[in-house]
């Protein structure tokens, strides 16, 4: 029968196993604590920033009124002619 090992050996090995597991999981904890690649991933051909969702009242008016844009565009086109 093999003799029982030294208690110190047992403690060292416990520390060794625990340290190993911690080291293996350390990158995960680091990324959680100080995320450098938290996403979200940018997908192509997207999107205008919307800092806040419109409330019910604001939702009645679209953010970009196409009619208004067209009018502004018409005015901009006309401006050089006025200058001339």
């Amino acid at each position: 029968m093999l003799p029982a090992p030294n208690p110190m050996t047992f403690i060292v090995l416990i520390l060794g196993v625990s340290t190993f597991i911690l080291i293996m999981l350390l990158p995960a904890f680091l990324e959680l604590k100080k995320p450098r690649d938290a996403g979200p991933r940018t997908i192509m051909n997207n999107i205008i920033a919307i800092p806040q969702l419109p409330t019910i009242m604001e939702a009645e008016k679209p953010m970009l009124d196409p009619t208004l844009c067209q009018k502004i565009a018409e005015i901009l086109v006309a401006l050089p002619n006025l200058e001339a």
Binding site: P5, F10, G16, F20, P27
Partner: protein, 131 residues
């Protein structure tokens, strides 16, 4: 495109060769590692060679990561086996049962962690190269 494809194929073939050599060494050292650990090392090598070597990145880095991974696996096996043996001397059969229950969780933690870090290393070097 063709040049990149040739580089990937070359990396894959060389990586496969490296993996075979490493696997052969593991088999030779069979008496130093238990059968489970040897199997786990082979799985790691197989996945690494077949799925990491075809990715973009320096071949030297891939080889280095493969070797480091095997060293980590062997180190883990030595530490954990020693711990199990010593603990069994103190706690007997109870720990044996605990060991067999937790073994699946613990025995693979190094594979997934190291795999993830390797991908990160390759991805970072790819980002640096593009920049």
């Amino acid at each position: 495109m063709l040049k990149e494809k040739m580089v990937r194929i070359r990396h894959s073939i060389l990586g496969f060769s490296a993996g075979v050599i490493v696997a052969y060494i593991i088999i030779l050292c069979f008496y130093l590692v238990n059968s489970e650990a040897a199997f786990m090392l082979m799985v790691f090598d197989f996945l690494f060679v077949s799925l990491v070597f075809p990715l973009d990145g320096s071949f030297v880095k891939k080889i280095a990561l493969l070797l480091i991974g095997n060293v980590i696996g062997l180190l883990w096996n030595s530490v954990f086996s020693s711990f199990s043996y010593v603990a069994a001397c103190y706690f007997g059969e109870f720990l044996n049962v605990l060991y067999i229950i937790l073994n699946p969780l613990l025995n693979f933690v190094w594979v997934v962690s190291f795999w993830s870090i390797s991908l990160s290393v390759l991805a970072s070097s790819k980002t640096v190269k593009v920049n």
